[in-house]
Subunit: 566 residues, 2 copies
């Protein structure tokens, strides 16, 4: 039977006044209720050849040993001098906890109590001038800096890396988390980098506004992190990615402060803003961001649509985008994800009515092995929602789409921030579970999907492990869309990291060789850096290195992120 | 009485097989029919204290003397070897004609036959490899390169500048002007840089598509020029500026070729694409561009709306944008431009019906000294046009907007590419006429408009010349909009360039000090370069210089453009 993961280790966190789960996703008091999903549980047992028993637990936080800090007393005193006593932490737990993001490799290290790339000291800036002071100290002291926001990176973005004896100062922006100013006339908000999604939306909603940026990490990720990594939220089809929401930003670099002009658009040479956005802390630290806002929606509508084939669904989306119909969300599961979703959605095998509906639709060809489920969401004024919904559904119908009502969409909406908790259950059962994503043009999308699915299968075979991969199309454009893959495999005990790297490498090689986005959502961090030269070309990389060299000549900013070490 | 400009000088162009007007705007066979606009003519006489007589004409092309080319025979032979005999031109006329853009200063030099910054040789590449060969020759020969597209720059973008003895090679892309590929599934077209607007739209329209980029220079400007300068078309409110339409580009730099990934979006560090877009030929030469397309509209609707005050109109636009109503065009004239437009629109004092309508509206307060006219355009599917038009007009009504039917919009549409011809008539009458533009947030827009109008007035006073300035709001965003100014002043004979510089400097100082866009439409070129450091900050400029240094270490690319000479 399925058991919940032992939570004794959570008690330790009370001491640290942490409510987040250091060894897994999200709120320490929450976990995924897999017992309520018996069909999905059976599905996993079959596909991954697992017993379903809990076979492992994270170590206790107290048992974790980290190496001694390399911060010398004199430098520690200087840091206290800059940030104040309360805002400088040298203790092991604090340092260890700041070494962890939310990637699969982070979780493996956390569960095993096997620390890696731990910062030597954690500082909490409360004002920008402290960051300026610290970076200017690189003339007098030897150190490197790793900016730290919500620490939800899944690509190693918060690892405290260094190649030499220089201690790592982790700059945690938790205490620079305010919404500084909301300009309701210009729909602009100036925000500090440590502000998390819910705090931001609360402040904006109070003024009848929204940013419209909802990555799956929304509850725990920070504005600074979004902007530093070019993150995508689930409503990006309507509102764009974060780089399209940034009107201006301020960055403290080792060479000085840059602030880009606060203008709606300009024709003034290379975009300085788009050089700073996405720089992942490698050239400087974002200290404030001015974001473009939208009216908070008055009305919401969700609808699920069934397609006989994935191709039909993809064609329907392409047609919607090219007709400039813009739902907030369009998410089309491929047949594998459709099967998994149906198993997951069914809490108890389904009511009689559900069973009758399924029987009818199966007869009409909708639940065949090629069947694909689409979720559509519309948010805005009631008249706009009505207009776009009608246009979207008419387009879906012209590709054989069958409207399944608001149920699937509502379920998706309710659980959109809940699914990441499932990974922790799976890990307990000895299952590797992770996601990866890309984007490409419509012409290349279906063939890329096939090639990536083949690469997963080949990787599982190479490893001799049972595995399952599935995908959805989301974040759509007139010219193409994102493909988001979830993959699971039975863990290879003792070889967990290597197993993950083999799958990741095989699939990413296929993505980059096909000319698709190396990442559409998650950024580069450490994990994608080795493909950057292939992706941007050698001369492109020289441009990025030249920018870094100009702003960070002594390479104190976030080593090993974004660009491979030269 | 108004006379047309003597066209004898045009005959010379027949020899050169040129149909464009070297001393003015556009097609040599066209000119603005000012005789048909007696009210506007009277308006000009009053405001600018001019007689209206033609007092000057451009010199004959034959009389223009340019300095000897600095290209030595051996280098000329090498160029012929690269480009072929037919594609290398060293004759004086060709060189002189390639020294001229379409800015006011260009026209002054053309009319006076006073050449400045003339290239030493003009080469017409036909394939990318010729450009690569030329740039790689910088190891063996000493020269600089100026890329040349449609030559409609109004900021000195095509001036052949050099600070030393190095000859200037002007690369004219007229013969690399093909649409290479249209991907109708992905709504993408790969285009050579020399392709002009009409050729591009013809190829796209044949596939039921459009780019949707229509700068006022559309008929004569090139894709490469648009992308190099971040140009804005009159439908940018709906479709975005050119930088939002570029999916990928290829650039030949002195250090090698860069091609950005062809993906709809990515989260992969600083945007290499947005470093290359807008670089104005200072780091390399664009050799192909992949552009995002739209469905060609099936339906069009234009409507004029009268507002009692400019402020009412601005508020109506802001509300439309923030409700996410997206007309293709929203163009609101300020009171000065409204008066000028009414004078210009009236071909013969107006019909009785027009006069009655004007009387009625004047009584209701619509043609007061604060009155402002708005043009709205909607293009797309009939259902979409109908939906957006209704929403837009309802918003206008809520700010007192009075719909004046389709007449004003149709007139604007018909004459949208015609107005630039008027400048040539004005020049003949001894009138300086030019435009400049910026963009700012809604919160700052009205006060910026006032400050700029004051700066014009002060500049006219400083010069002791009668002048007239007017503006419209266009190219709108949720966060702000562009302000586009037209200004006219009686010319100061013998001091024409100085007069223009004084006006330009006074106004641009106000724009940059207010934190508004140094340019929203036209780019930087030579004319705006001196404000770049104030605009981007010293560290921002260091970033741009670092990029240039990496790709163009011997500074052969387009001297003096974009960044002030260091």
């Amino acid at each position: 039977m399925v058991k919940h993961i032992n939570t004794t280790c959570l008690n330790l966190l009370c001491d640290l006044k942490l409510s987040s789960k250091w060894w897994g996703w999200g709120d320490a008091s929450k976990s995924y209720d897999l017992e309520a999903r018996p069909r999905f549980f059976k599905f996993l047992q079959e596909k991954l050849e697992i017993t379903g028993e809990i076979i492992q637990e994270p170590v206790s936080l107290d048992s974790v040993k980290v190496s001694r800090t390399r911060v010398e007393d004199a430098f520690a005193r200087r840091l206290v001098n800059i940030f104040s006593e309360d805002n400088v932490r040298l203790d092991d737990k604090e340092r260890f906890l700041h070494s962890l993001g939310k990637g699969y490799l982070d979780l493996i290290r956390a569960w095993k109590g096997n620390p890696s790339n731990v910062p030597d000291v954690v500082a909490y800036p409360t004002v920008e001038s402290q960051v300026e002071q610290l970076l200017s100290e690189s003339r007098n002291w030897s150190f490197v800096v790793v900016p730290y926001g919500g620490a939800t990176s899944v690509v190693g973005g918060v690892e405290s890396r260094t190649h030499d004896a220089r201690p790592v100062v982790c700059l945690d922006f938790k205490r620079m988390n305010r919404v500084l100013d909301v300009d309701g006339r210009s729909f602009l908000a100036r925000v500090q980098p440590g502000c998390l999604g819910p705090e931001l939306e609360k402040a904006l909603n109070a003024a009848g506004l929204t940013l419209g940026h909802f990555p799956q990490s929304f509850e725990y990720s920070s504005v600074g992190g979004w902007v530093a990594t070019r993150s995508a939220g689930y409503e990006s089809t309507r509102y764009g990615k974060i780089e399209e929401m940034v009107e201006s930003l301020r960055m403290v670099t080792p060479t000085g402060v840059i602030e880009t002009p606060l203008v709606p658009a300009s024709a003034t040479g290379p975009s300085l803003l788009q050089v700073l956005v996405g720089s992942e802390g490698t050239i400087g630290v974002i200290t404030s961001v001015t974001l473009k806002l939208r009216k908070a929606p008055q009305s919401r509508s969700y609808v699920g649509v069934l397609f006989k084939t994935f191709t039909d669904g993809v064609e329907a989306i392409r047609e919607m985008m090219q007709k400039e119909i813009v739902p907030n969300v369009v998410r089309l599961s491929d047949p594998n994800e459709t099967r998994a979703s149906l198993a997951l959605a069914s809490r108890n095998g389904g009511s009689l009515v559900e069973k009758a509906g399924t029987w009818y639709l199966t007869r009409r060809g909708y639940f065949g092995s090629e069947g694909a489920v689409m979720i559509l969401a519309f948010e805005g004024s009631p008249e706009w929602v009505d207009f776009e919904r009608k246009r979207a559904l008419a387009t879906c119908r012209s590709f054989g789409g069958f409207s399944a009502g608001s149920g699937p969409g509502r379920t998706w909406y309710k659980e959109r921030f809940y699914l990441p908790y499932l990974r922790d259950n799976l890990l307990g059962m000895g299952v590797l579970a992770d996601t990866l994503e890309t984007a490409t043009t419509w012409s290349r999308l279906l063939s890329l999907h096939s090639k990536i699915m083949e690469a997963f299968t080949a990787a599982f075979q190479e490893l001799h492990v049972p595995g399952y991969a599935m995908a959805h199309v989301s974040h759509e454009y007139q010219t193409g869309a994102s493909l988001y893959f979830t993959f699971m495999a039975k863990q290879l005990p003792g070889r967990e990291e290597n197993e993950w790297h083999i799958i990741k490498n095989r699939v990413t090689d296929v993505i980059v060789s096909a000319g698709a986005s190396l990442s559409h959502h998650h950024g580069i961090g450490v994990e994608h850096a080795k493909w950057m030269e292939q992706y941007y070309g050698p001369l492109g990389i020289r441009v990025l290195r030249a920018i870094k060299h100009e702003l960070d000549p002594t390479t104190i900013m976030n080593p090993d992120k974004l660009l491979p070490s030269s």
